[in-house]
Symmetry: C2
Subunit: 298 residues, 2 copies
């Protein structure tokens, strides 16, 4: 048994058991992968993968159990290199942040600006993705830190820290009838709606609130991006349901915002990272910066 065999198992899982792709990822030829897998299975005495013909089609019960240990080993191995690098020079490195558009544009800029000043030699990569992909990016180490609102709570192998609570809001042009009188969910539902894609930026909370009142929404446009929504609100397509933090008082003067705190439950933006995963000091400091920025942000 050796570490490349252990890593191979992880890569095979990531490539859905495709040896050729795994070979590419590991920078070796495909036949090397084939042989190493054979050797490893031979050493253990039983197959780890189910096979259909020659292709791998899944994992055996033994394989699944062993993957738990494999994941532990890979993480500890990565920790060793990270810890050592951090010890050598804790001001240098790379920070991969996975987040959604709304957070990247409205919440993160302040924290990132300050962080850059403290750590000019840290490269920041911002990975934008849908919330459901953020978690898998943590697991595949494409991202070190994930920041978002949805879908983080049920994961048991993540460390979560709350940043700030926010509410949804309506944005409409100045001449819109919604600007007169109280706003209710019923009134809102009578207009064409522009809001986030499902799974984005508290969309599930929106749906739940309307559903609880038996209201159907006429969603004419769904986007991952608050700015896209605002653009089409300006064009008169309907009323925009966005995060209140996505309204910029300076730029969005041509739109009127009405907070829906009393109608739709608040959402919470959180930062997440893998449990048992060593984060370099600068990453830990970035999280601190984030929490400070969050307090000022609300």
């Amino acid at each position: 048994m050796n570490l490349s065999q252990i890593e191979l198992l992880r890569v095979l899982q990531e490539t859905q058991f495709n040896m050729s792709k795994a070979a590419d990822k590991m920078h070796v030829v495909q036949s090397a992968v084939s042989r190493q897998l054979q050797l490893f299975e031979e050493e253990l005495g039983s197959p780890l993968f189910e096979r259909q013909g020659k292709k791998l089609s899944g994992m055996t019960p033994l394989g699944k159990r062993i993957m738990e240990e494999v994941a532990i080993i890979n993480q500890a191995k990565n920790n060793i290199t990270t810890i050592a690098a951090d010890f050598l020079d804790s001001d240098k490195g790379t920070l991969h942040i996975a987040t959604t558009h709304t957070q990247a544009k409205y919440f993160l800029p302040m924290a990132i600006q300050r962080f850059r000043k403290k750590y000019p030699n840290v490269n920041i990569y911002m990975v934008q993705a849908a919330p459901e992909q953020l978690i898998s990016q943590l697991h595949t180490r494409e991202a070190d830190i994930a920041i978002c609102t949805e879908r983080l709570d049920q994961e048991t192998d993540l460390v979560l820290e709350k940043c700030f609570d926010w509410h949804h809001a309506v944005v409409v042009p100045h001449n819109h009838p919604l600007n007169d009188g109280d706003i209710t969910l019923e009134r809102l539902a009578s207009y064409p709606i522009l809001t986030y894609n499902f799974g984005f930026t508290g969309r599930s909370t929106i749906d739940k609130a309307f559903k609880a009142k038996g209201l159907d929404l006429d969603i004419v446009l769904a986007a991952a991006d608050s700015d896209v929504i605002k653009t089409y609100v300006r064009l008169g397509l309907g009323v925009g349901l966005i995060a209140d933090i996505a309204y910029d008082a300076a730029i969005d003067q041509d739109l009127v915002i009405h907070n829906l705190a009393h109608l739709i439950p608040s959402s919470c933006t959180k930062v997440a990272y893998l449990k048992h995963n060593y984060l370099p000091l600068f990453s830990q400091h970035f999280i601190e910066e984030l929490l400070i920025a969050a307090k000022e942000f609300v």
Copy 2:
């Protein structure tokens, strides 16, 4: 980085940083160890060991931190081979039990006899040691399971399961004056005492009980072994303070036993094994057998 380097770190720790001994344990020559350590430290970029001249004298802060990950990797690696072997044939293997004399002689026989019947192909090795060594034997994998009374509670990386409670008792010859009238700690303290070595079989509980009353014990003989104590009680050296479970009604007819349940707090025999350490099915069954035997035992 490779697995033998990881294992080397563990072995170096076990040998108190002696490369020559580590080389022996790993079945390679000493120069190979020297080079592999150099290579590994070079790869990480900083030394893991403190040095006095050429000799290793301790671990650097970095080294200590990295040893945590090393321990995780080694354990997971061992788990992989154990799981695979267990999957191949779960009725075969080796069980290393570390325990003290009292448990081995008076508690374990029944459980072991039954276990042998179920698993005739499992080799049982009984490692006898002082309680304080049992834990380190778990860590070094000299033992899979430890059974004893003392010193297990504060360890956070062990899984503990309670077996049974027992009390201390006095054993004296038939003609001894203690056989007449009530027994008190004060009366006991007026006789020469024979009991366990410190650290063994609830000795600390005994000391605490007498100390609480301000009594000094005149200990004429301390042994690790209940039978040694009984032998010298028979020779008239004094009164024996032993575990009640170490009195065998059939064999010890020439001695009178008085239970001290009302004078000395009870002790608890526990079974312990490493957290996150995969135990083969037969080992898990042995523990179950142990718990059943414990219920019948009291």
